[in-house]
């Protein structure tokens, strides 16, 4: 049976949160075999991305770009039950990803030198986000 663990992230609202170390830690206790690591966010208004992990200005540019690409409060949105950022959070999630699949080498994350795993909270308010990590070998 696959090795499986849960991560919970308490976000402080819109922005990117580095979860690389937590995903790596979730693999502890699993087999020391090659395979893939599946990282899954159980929500439709937050996403997971791989991004450059050295210079935070890359992620500031990403955030500013997405704010222009999917503007909050566009009067053409029909769905605003939870506020100006409701539909944008869903669109941003579809444009990014709910799941990442990453290589595992001998049971450990095998990312590129500059790749970090980030939870991207797309809502402006803080949320509790559940992530499932599964190691398949």
């Amino acid at each position: 049976m696959a090795h499986r663990a849960t991560i919970t992230v308490e976000t402080r609202g819109r922005g990117t949160y580095d979860v690389t170390a937590r995903v790596a830690a979730a693999l502890e206790g699993g087999p020391d075999l090659d395979g893939v690591v599946h990282v899954f966010c159980h929500h439709t208004s937050a996403a997971l991305i791989l991004c450059e992990n050295a210079d935070p200005s890359v992620r500031r540019d990403l955030e500013a770009y997405f704010a222009r690409l999917v503007p909050d409060g566009d009067p053409r949105y029909e769905h605003d039950a939870e506020g100006d950022d409701d539909t944008p959070a869903h669109i941003r999630t579809v444009l990014t990803q709910s799941a990442l699949v990453l290589p595992a080498a001998r049971g450990r994350l095998d990312l590129g030198t500059w790749q970090g795993v980030y939870l991207w909270e797309h809502r402006t308010a803080p949320h509790r986000r559940r992530i499932t990590v599964t190691l398949i070998t």
Copy 2:
């Protein structure tokens, strides 16, 4: 060997089609083990997304947003062999996804409460779309 099944969807043209129940049904007969479910669309002008499954206005907003983001009939497109929606369907597919990988718990789909699996037909005309579902444990 992995558990594998095929789903065929007859679309009525551009729009989102809920296939969550069909993906869940495709897992029947597979092992009751933890793992991941791979859902794959064998086409380059239709995609798969995870989206909010409660309020249909979210998907109407998504459709309207993508129509603005990737306009049909832009004269700058070179490829229009199959019509005004030909290149847009390919671009929309690249901006969304051909495959979803979802968690499986004891052989069953383990999605978030509000997550549904949708086939997104990006062409305006009806098409027959083939989806392969694979359970890996």
Copy 3:
């Protein structure tokens, strides 16, 4: 243990490179079983896409579209340490994908008729890109 291989691609700068045959070749020596193929790019400024493999004008349209969607040299970008295409390459990678997961039937790639696997170099200068292919059954 999963079957695993590495592909190295020397790009000539921005553009799409068909790696379908190389991914298929990387599966040789693996088990003849059903499962999934994970293809992963270890970089944050190049991506992998599935795209129509018959008419190259589709990919020219994709490239032109992304150049308009994520313009190089936008003065609002903060991060330009490596040039006008630095932040755009990161944004384009997030809008596309670092990994593809594809179906395998009896140990071989099981794509749709018109689906090809492309490395999309998002930087304007040539780069060496490392891709890991893993077959999970």
